[in-house]
Structures are given as structure tokens and as C-alpha cells.
């Protein structure tokens, strides 16, 4: 079976359990089991080749730009781990089928489990470290789901997040390390990297890479000081603990250290970091395990300790130590998985895992007891079980290890660890299974069904058999795996057997066992002392760190994004001004090339008005209506200025926009407070004033400098001037630019207007559809109102003014192409003409007579403009190509037609529609019952007198 398929099978299979759960728990479990089984078989098919020492490789390019290739390879080490992952996985699947209760969503469980399994298989088969990283992080994620599987338990949720935090951060560090490694070698392919030991170790980046990678390994394998997450992950269902936290995931770190052993090990850095960490972890885990009352916690710290052991062995950097490590990996996997499952059975049956509440179970659950006791003895390092063998070899290695010149430090501490290891193993046996049978279990325990103990039983039989026949059973496996670790076939001599003679290791074992028994005897006083002793509680530290981090994040986030746009805008100004000044100050400037132009006193007076009015707006901005009046002055002077400076089109536009804007603002102000209170403290106002002055000065200096210099190259507008008439058919170059040269801009611009109207309409609908409507309907004017809402003189004047204004609009529209004017200004004038009518006779009266459908007006404006643009397709020209020509219908004189006029009509309509829709929306806000009038004017003696006369007549 292809390695691709082996790696992919669990992922593909992961779909089924969740789907098949509707078909029943067995179907779901079978699907999961079958998947694992198929993959396992597929793996075993490669066994002969692997044992022949071949390396099986497959690969395809995935992301060649990065060197991330989907390359897999299978050698002894990969085979060992893959076999463990898939084999134990099968057992766990079986076990979980019976372990999980009816309430637990089993489909999800198997799905997560298979995802995890796939990720693990991916790690051990990857031939590309980036690919390996992908799988590596996937294990963190899938284990997050598995640990948090019991969603209702806070321990589960917290444990999952803690595991994710620790292993996740380690994984991210490892990404950095792997990237460095890949950069040193020039390839991310493992098989290449493994060939470049000298290159790597000579690199100045070796140490950073090493540290980062080891951070990943240590966190994953729960090495000190990252060991604390593992016990909390035990909140997971026991099958998860057995699988992830003894057999597989925690060994991923070990795997990687073993995988990279050929290129990373052998340096003092490696030795001191890895071996020391392993040693400390081994000792610390063993000590803590002794004082844990929770069965799974005990096993968890035991696991920590054993992982430390393996790490230490890998850290030694010798080949024989590597062999020992590989051997212990196998042994630990067998006895620890069996122990976890046994603990799970006890928990499942007795409904407690508290050692203090347990005892004497050997009578009640003999099968379980046998399995657990054998496995625990192996863990304690008692012959003839397999744990003894590897521990013996480990102790042997420590004796040969020199740590900072000391011969005794490593063996001494290792012995101490072995001693504690024996002690907690004995406690596991003695306090749970031996002793008096009790009658206060939460539930009456008995052996579970075969399905549940079959898995551990199989594992424990391996424990015994490997112990008895190590060389035959696992010798070849150890050989190929260790060969892969050490990166060559030339393993040193070693022998896997029970009896090595009276070696120092044997004596040490003896001391450990006896010492262990003594410690167990002294357990009661010791644990009392332990509980009294102050020590850091990792979970609390972690929790408070996380809380602090979260809180800090909230403070930073909320502190920075506190909703105060005044501050956002201030920061923006400061930043813009600062960066712009930086850009200016790092450049150079030549002297001015243009002369300034003199001005007359009238211009200065106008300028003076502008300046004074602007300052007055600032000074009086709290009086809102007054500031609008003052802005009116500003707008007027700006228009005068445009006219003076040869921009009549701009003057016209500015004037008409001004009127509409003013009406709009007044309409809005009607609903709003009429004054702004003083709110910002003085220093804030000074600060704002400061930045305003700096910003204004910057803008002034910039434009002054620009005006005194010529274009670096002739402006493109020379072309516009030259071709406006020839090519655009108009003499008003500004208008020709707007409707022809840059008609596309104008197209966008009318769409902006149209959108503005749509937004306003939608907003009005939203507001009037909400509770605000009731407020508006009952709103009282906040200023006293005068009578005579629709004065007669205004109405009559409007009746003449409106048609005249429309006439002017038509005039402005038609002349636009050749003289100042055009669709936009005409549209504004027409809109204001209608606006006059609204102001004169009221919204209700006028809109009843309204024949225009504003949405449609806007829409047709945009459509006409677009259609004019599209029309040019028919002549084979691009969008918005204009055409013009001359018509002659006698007796009329010849006149000019231009598609630009049609386009301008679109502009006109869009403008009229948009302005009126906006104003109409505001008027709708103000609508109240009784506001509508059936008459154009409130006072009309002709009408009223006639009605009175009629009434009098009627009475008579």
C-alpha cells in the first residue's frame, strides 16, 4: 500500500464515524476500526522491506515554491512509530467502544481520533520537515478536540486549552527552528537534511535552530518545565489518555528528537540541553507521581518521567543510548497503554479513580488486577518484564555519562528517579489492587466485558513476552529503528536480554526496588510532608498567566480601540503629518521656478473675509446655526475665488452645491441639539489646535511650494486643450474632460451620487421602521414655532421662480459643452427649483403633486449614462467613446448633436434624483400627523372668502 494511502486513510476514514453514528455505535466504531486496521495492514506489508533495511520513499510536489513537498518515507524509526500508532490505535478504538457511555457522541469521538491518528502517522512518515510541521500542528488541534471531548466538564475545556497553548506554542517555535534548518541546508526534505550534519552543526544558526526545535519537542513530550499540561489533559476520556498521552502524541517530541538525532546530536549543546532536561523531567515526574492520588494523574506524571528518561537517553548522544531509547519507547508504550486502560476500567467500574478510595480490587476484578499488576511491575522495572530490560540498559548508560565533569550526578539522579518510579508503581499495585476489599466504592466494581479488557490484555502479554524473549520479539525492530535513529547500519554491540550479569545497573535496580518499597511504607508521612511543602502549582500559574494575558489583551484592545474616534483621528493626523514630514525631510528641493503673481485689494478683501469667516466657524462652532451661516460666507468667497481664478464651472458648481448642502444640514439640524457643549478639557483643545495648526501649515507650505514650481514635464492637459474641440466637439475644455476625456470618472461620480441617495433612502426606511418612528411622530419642536408655515408670498414667488429656474437649468445644461455649465450644475439647479416648491408649500403638498419617481430618476440617469457609453460598442469603439455631428432641418439652422449631451443627461437625471431623494428622506423624518396641508398656502383670502360665501349661502 502506498505511503500516501497509509497516511491518508485515517483522514479519509475520519468522515465515516461521524456520519455512520446514525447507523449505530457499532457501525461507527467498526468504520473507525476498519480504517485503522487497513492502514495497519498496509504498513505491515512494508515490514519485510523495512526489515531488510530499505527505505521506502514516495513523493509529489505540493508547494514547490516553498520546498514543501508531499514526500513520505518509511524507515525503521517511522515503521516503529507508525506501527505503535496504528496498532495501539486499533486497541484504543476497541476499548473506547465499550468505555464511552450512551450519552457521549461516539461518532465525533472516532472522527477526532482518526484525525489525530492520521496526523501522527503523517508526522512519522514525513520526508519533508514542512510537511511534518503540518501534521505536527494537526496533532495539537486534534488533541485539543479530544481532550475537550467532554465539553460539559470545565477541566476538559481548560485542559484542552492548556494543552493547545503549550504544544501550540512549542509547535510555532518549531516552525521557526525548522525554517532555519531548511535554510541552512537549502532543502526542507528530511532525507536531504539528514545528510548534512556537518553543514548544520557548523552553522552559526545551529543553536537557535536547535533550541526552537527542542522547544517544540519538549512541549509536545511534556518535558520540564512544560510538563504540567499533561496531567491536566487527563480530563480527557481514558481512551484518549491511553492513546495520546502515553503511546503516541507525547512521543511525537521523542520521535522528532530521534529523527533529527543524526544531524543535531553529538554537540555539547545537544547534550546539556537534552540530557539535562530529560534527567530533570525523569526525576521530577517520578517524585510527583508518587504523591498523586488520582490514578490517571499518577500515570500521567509517570509518563512524564519516562518521557524524560527517553529524552535523556537521546541526549546522551551515544549510539548505544539511542538503542536503549528506542527499546524503552516500545516497552513504555506497551505497559503504559495497558496501565491507562486498566485505570480506565477501574474508573469505569468503580466510578472513582481516587487511590484513597480504592483498594483490594484484586478480589473484585481479578482479570483487570492481573493486567494492571503485571504492567505496573514492568513500569517499576521488575524482571522479567520488559520495563526491567530497558531500565537496566538506561542505568548502565548513566554510569558512563559525565555531566560537567561529575561522574556521579547523572547516575545518582537516575537512581533516585528509578527509586521513586518503583515506589509509585508499587503504590499503584498496593493501594488499588492489594489490601482489604472495601465496601465504600461509589459503585460495586467487577471485571468488564472482554471487549474492554482485551486490549490491555494483549498489551500486557507483550510486556511479558518481550521481557522474556526480547531479542526474538523486538530485536529486529529495535535494530532497524535504532539504525534509522543513528543514521547508519553500524550499530555498536548490544544485546537485549534479561541477564547481563552483576553489572552496576543491576545493583542500582536492586537499590531502586528496595528503596521503592521503603518509600511506599513511608508514604503516609511523606505525603503529609509533601502537602505541607510549598511548591508552585503549575496549573494556577498557567491559569493566572492566561487570565492575565487575556485581561491584558482586553485592556490593550479596549484601551486602544475605546470607541473614541476623536482620538483615532488625532492619532491619524499625527501619523500622517509625521510620516509626510519624514518624507519631505529626507528629500531635496530646488529653488522656485515660477514668479508669484500680484494681487489687488479687492482680492485681499475677499481673502480676508474667507479667513475671518473660517476662524469664526471655529470660534463659534458651538452655535450650530450660526456656524452654518458662517460656512455660507466661506462657500461664497470660495466661489468668488474660483471665478476670479478662471474656473467659472467650479464657481457655478460650488454655489449650487452650497445651497443644497445648507438645506440638508438645516434639515438635519432641526432634529439635533442646536448647540454643542464644551466637553474637551482645555489641554485637549490646545492639543487639537496644535495638530490642526501643524496640519494646516503643512498643507499651506506644500501647495505654496508646488505653485511656485513648474511641472517636471508638460501636463497631459495640454493635450486636452488641443483636442477638446477637434476630438471632443466642445469648447468648454472642463466639460469636455468631464464628459469625454474622463467621462469614466464622471460615470463613477454620478454613481456615487446615486448610491448616496440609495443609502439615505435605506437608512430612512431603517430608522422609520424602528422605535425611532414613535419618537419622531410625537416629537415636539425644541424651539417655539411661528405661525404661517407656508407663506403666501413664498408660494406665489415660487410659482414663477420654479419654471424660471428650470429654464435656467435647461440653459445651463445645453451650453455646458461649449461654455461653463453642464449636466451636473443643471441638475442641481433643477433640484433646487423643486426644493423651492417643497419649502414653499410643504413636503406633503408638493410630493402629492410629484410626478417623478426619484429612485427611477436616479436609475434612469445611471442607465442613460451607461447606455450612452455602451452605444459606442456598436461602432466598434470602447465604452464611453463620444460622437458628435451636425443636423440640418430646414427651415431651422444647422445644429450640433453630441452623444456627450446624452451622457450629460444621465448626469443631470442622477443628480436631480439623488438630491431630491435625499431631501425627501429628511422630510419624511419630520412628517407628523396634521402636518400635511391640502392647500399650497395657508392663507388665501380668495379661497377662504369664496368658501365662506358659499357656506353663508348654504346656510341661507
Amino acid at each position: 500500500m502506498s505511503l500516501f494511502l497509509i497516511a491518508a486513510l485515517p483522514f479519509l476514514g475520519a468522515v465515516f464515524p461521524a456520519l455512520l453514528i446514525r447507523a449505530g455505535r457499532n457501525a461507527s466504531a467498526s468504520a473507525a476500526g476498519l480504517t485503522s486496521f487497513l492502514a495497519f495492514v498496509g504498513l505491515l506489508l512494508h515490514a519485510p522491506a523495512v526489515f531488510r533495511g530499505e527505505v521506502i520513499q514516495v513523493g509529489i510536489d505540493w508547494l514547490p515554491a516553498l520546498g514543501l513537498n508531499a514526500n513520505f518515507f518509511l524507515d525503521g524509526l517511522g515503521f516503529l512509530f507508525a506501527a505503535m500508532i496504528l496498532g495501539i490505535g486499533l486497541l484504543v478504538i476497541l476499548y473506547a467502544r465499550f468505555y464511552l457511555s450512551r450519552e457521549d457522541p461516539m461518532g465525533n469521538f472516532y472522527t477526532y481520533l482518526l484525525l489525530f491518528q492520521g496526523a501522527m502517522v503523517g508526522i512519522v512518515l514525513s520526508d519533508n520537515i514542512l510537511l511534518l510541521l503540518v501534521f505536527w500542528e494537526l496533532t495539537s488541534l486534534s488533541s485539543f478536540l479530544l481532550i475537550g471531548y467532554w465539553k460539559h466538564l470545565p477541566e476538559g475545556r481548560q485542559g484542552a486549552r492548556m494543552a493547545l497553548a503549550i504544544t501550540g506554542s512549542g509547535g510555532l517555535a518549531m516552525i521557526g527552528g525548522m525554517m532555519i534548518l531548511g535554510n541552512i541546508v537549502g532543502s526542507y526534505d528530511l532525507s536531504v537534511i539528514l545528510q548534512n550534519k556537518d553543514l548544520i552543526q557548523a552553522s552559526p544558526l545551529y543553536l537557535p535552530a536547535l533550541i526552537l526545535i527542542l522547544l517544540g519537542c519538549f512541549t509536545k513530550s511534556a518535558q520540564f518545565p512544560f510538563h504540567f499540561w499533561l496531567p491536566h489533559a487527563m480530563a480527557a476520556p481514558t481512551p484518549v489518555s491511553a492513546y495520546l498521552h502515553s503511546a503516541t502524541m507525547v512521543k511525537a517530541g521523542i520521535f522528532l528528537m530521534a529523527r533529527l538525532w543524526p544531524v543535531l546530536s553529538g554537540t555539547p549543546e545537544w547534550f546539556y540541553i537534552v540530557a539535562t532536561t530529560g534527567l530533570v523531567t525523569m526525576l521530577l515526574g517520578a517524585v510527583i507521581a508518587l504523591f498523586k492520588d488520582d490514578l490517571k494523574a499518577l500515570l500521567a506524571f509517570s509518563t512524564v518521567s519516562h518521557l524524560g528518561l527517553i529524552t535523556m537517553l537521546l541526549g546522551f548522544g551515544t549510539k548505544i543510548a539511542a538503542v536503549t531509547a528506542v527499546f524503552h519507547i516500545i516497552n513504555h508504550a506497551t505497559f503504559k497503554a495497558a496501565l491507562f486502560m486498566s485505570a480506565g476500567i477501574v474508573d469505569h467500574e468503580a466510578h472513582t479513580r481516587d487511590i484513597k478510595r480504592l483498594g483490594g480490587l484484586r478480589h473484585l476484578m481479578p482479570v483487570t488486577a492481573t493486567i494492571a499488576i503485571v504492567a505496573a511491575l514492568s513500569m517499576a522495572g521488575i524482571p522479567p518484564f520488559n520495563g526491567f530490560l530497558s531500565k537496566e540498559m538506561m542505568l548502565e548508560e548513566t554510569v558512563h555519562t559525565l555531566w560537567a565533569g561529575s561522574h556521579y550526578l547523572v547516575p545518582g539522579l537516575a537512581l533516585l528517579a528509578a527509586l521513586f518510579s518503583a515506589a509509585y508503581s508499587f503504590r499503584f499495585i498496593g493501594h488499588v489492587f492489594l489490601g482489604q476489599t472495601r465496601d465504600d466504592y461509589p459503585a460495586k466494581p467487577h471485571d468488564p466485558g472482554f471487549g474492554m479488557w482485551a486490549g490491555p490484555a494483549l498489551l500486557v502479554s507483550l510486556v511479558v513476552l518481550i521481557g522474556l524473549f526480547p531479542a526474538h520479539l523486538v530485536g529486529p525492530l529495535v535494530a532497524v529503528a535504532a539504525g534509522a535513529v543513528t543514521g547508519g547500519a553500524d550499530l555498536p554491540y548490544y544485546s537485549l536480554k534479561l541477564w547481563h550479569g552483576l553489572t552496576p545497573a543491576l545493583y542500582m535496580s536492586g537499590v531502586a526496588v528496595i528503596g521503592g518499597l521503603v518509600l511506599l511504607k513511608l508514604h503516609a508521612p511523606l505525603i503529609a510532608a509533601w502537602n505541607r511543602a510549598p511548591r508552585p502549582e503549575a496549573k494556577q500559574i498557567f491559569d493566572s498567566a492566561m487570565r492575565a494575558l487575556t485581561k491584558l489583551s482586553q485592556i490593550i484592545t479596549d484601551g486602544l480601540h475605546n470607541g473614541a474616534i476623536t482620538r483615532y483621528a488625532f492619532l491619524m493626523m499625527v501619523f500622517i503629518i509625521g510620516i509626510s514630514y519624514f518624507a519631505y525631510s529626507t528629500g531635496t528641493m530646488v529653488p522656485a521656478t515660477r514668479e508669484v503673481q500680484g494681487v489687488g485689494p479687492i482680492t485681499v478683501i475677499a481673502w480676508f473675509c474667507l479667513m475671518v469667516a473660517t476662524l469664526a466657524v471655529v470660534a463659534k462652532h458651538r452655535q450650530r446655526q450660526l456656524s452654518l451661516v458662517l460656512i455660507g460666507v466661506v462657500g461664497l468667497v470660495v466661489s468668488l475665488g474660483f471665478n476670479y481664478l478662471s474656473a467659472p464651472d467650479l464657481a457655478l458648481t460650488q454655489l449650487s452645491v452650497e445651497v443644497v448642502t445648507m438645506v440638508l444640514l438645516l434639515l438635519a439640524l432641526n432634529f439635533m441639539p442646536k448647540d454643542s457643549p464644551v466637553e474637551a478639557p482645555m489641554w485637549v483643545r490646545l492639543r487639537d489646535g496644535g495638530i490642526a495648526v501643524v496640519g494646516g501649515l503643512g498643507a499651506a507650505l506644500l501647495i505654496y511650494a508646488l505653485m511656485l514650481r513648474d511641472f517636471a514635464l508638460p501636463s497631459i492637459s495640454e493635450f486636452h486643450l488641443a483636442n477638446s474641440y477637434k476630438g471632443g466637439g466642445g469648447t468648454n475644455v472642463v466639460n469636455v474632460i468631464l464628459v469625454d476625456f474622463r467621462g469614466y470618472d464622471t460615470f463613477g461620480e454620478i454613481i456615487v451620487l446615486g448610491i448616496a441617495a440609495l443609502v439615505i433612502y435605506a437608512l430612512t426606511e431603517a430608522v422609520l421602521g424602528s422605535r425611532v418612528r414613535a419618537y419622531l411622530l410625537n416629537r415636539k419642536p425644541d424651539m417655539p414655532q411661528a405661525g404661517d408655515a407656508h407663506p403666501m408670498m413664498m408660494v406665489v414667488a415660487t410659482r414663477v421662480m420654479m419654471p424660471l429656474a428650470l429654464m435656467v437649468a435647461a440653459y445651463i445644461f445645453f451650453r455646458g459643452h461649449n461654455l461653463p455649465g453642464g449636466g451636473f450644475i443643471a441638475g442641481l439647479i433643477a433640484a433646487i427649483a423643486l426644493l423651492m416648491q417643497y419649502m414653499a408649500s410643504g413636503f406633503s403638498w408638493a410630493s402629492e403633486r410629484q410626478r417623478m419617481f426619484y429612485h427611477g430618476t436616479i436609475g434612469s440617469g445611471v442607465l442613460i449614462a451607461a447606455a450612452t457609453g455602451l452605444g459606442s460598442w456598436f461602432s466598434g469603439n470602447p465604452f464611453l467613446t463620444s460622437a458628435f455631428g451636425y443636423l440640418h432641418w430646414p427651415p431651422l439652422e444647422e445644429f450640433e448633436w453630441a452623444t456627450a449631451a446624452l451622457f450629460d443627461l444621465g448626469v443631470f437625471l442622477a443628480v436631480v434624483g439623488a438630491v431630491l431623494l435625499a431631501l425627501e428622506s429628511l422630510a419624511r423624518f419630520a412628517w407628523q400627523p396634521g402636518i400635511s396641508s391640502e392647500h399650497a398656502m395657508d392663507i388665501n383670502p380668495a379661497r377662504d372668502d369664496a368658501a365662506e360665501a358659499a357656506a353663508a349661502e348654504g346656510e341661507a
Partner: protein, 126 residues
């Protein structure tokens, strides 16, 4: 030459009236009187300028353009409305029915004739 003097005359007169109108705005001491100065003097001032402009167009530049008349028309149409509204603002804010002459048979001036339903709504809300 005659026309040039005439144009110049119009310009001078109009400038004077324009100035006087705005000067009145400063000088006159009661709000309603201030309303007189700009509405009229300014109109005449602008009217003069427009006449000058038209004459200038015909005489100096040699083409008849009458659109100045449009401006005059607009000013005559709008100025009374403007004045009316500003006067109403004054009435609304500073005069009461008793401070004004009787409004004949109608009893009250329109500005002070607040709609009944509005008055009702006011009292209803309190």
C-alpha cells in the same frame, strides 16, 4: 464717449448705493429698520451694475446681451421674499401681538397665529 460716461455714472451710482445699503446695516439701530437698507439700496446698487454691464456689452464689446435682465428679474422676485422671512423672524422673536398694530378684521398677524393643533399638542405634552 457719452455712453462711456453713462456707464461710468451707473457704476459710480451703483457702487454708492451698494455701499450705503451695507452701511445702513451697521448704522441703523433697530432690527426692522436695518432690513430696509440692504433690501433696497443693494437692489438698486446691483441694478446699476447690471445696467452698466449691459451697456458695456453693447457699446464697448459690440454685442447685445440681455441676460443681466434675468438677474434683475430674479432679484425683484426674490428680494421681497427674503425680506418677508427676515421680518417674520423678527416678529417671531421680538414682537408680540400687542406690540404691533391691530391686524384688522383678522385679529392677529400670521406669524403669531400658531396653529391650533400645534398648540393642543403643546399643551397635551405638558
Amino acid at each position: 464717449m457719452f455712453f462711456e460716461y453713462m456707464i461710468a455714472g451707473f457704476l459710480v451710482v451703483s457702487g454708492t448705493f451698494g455701499f450705503v445699503g451695507s452701511f445702513g446695516l451697521l448704522k441703523l439701530n433697530d432690527p426692522m429698520s436695518r432690513l430696509h437698507a440692504p433690501t433696497k439700496a443693494t437692489t438698486l446698487g446691483v441694478g446699476g451694475v447690471l445696467l452698466a454691464s449691459m451697456l458695456h456689452g453693447v457699446v464697448i464689446e459690440g454685442h447685445l446681451s440681455l441676460h443681466e435682465l434675468m438677474i434683475t428679474l430674479f432679484l425683484f422676485l426674490t428680494a421681497p421674499v427674503t425680506a418677508l422671512f427676515i421680518a417674520k423672524v423678527h416678529l417671531h422673536r421680538h414682537e408680540t401681538p400687542s406690540s404691533l398694530p391691530k391686524a384688522g378684521e383678522d385679529g392677529i398677524w400670521a406669524t403669531h397665529d400658531v396653529d391650533e393643533h400645534e398648540a393642543e399638542a403643546d399643551s397635551g405634552s405638558n
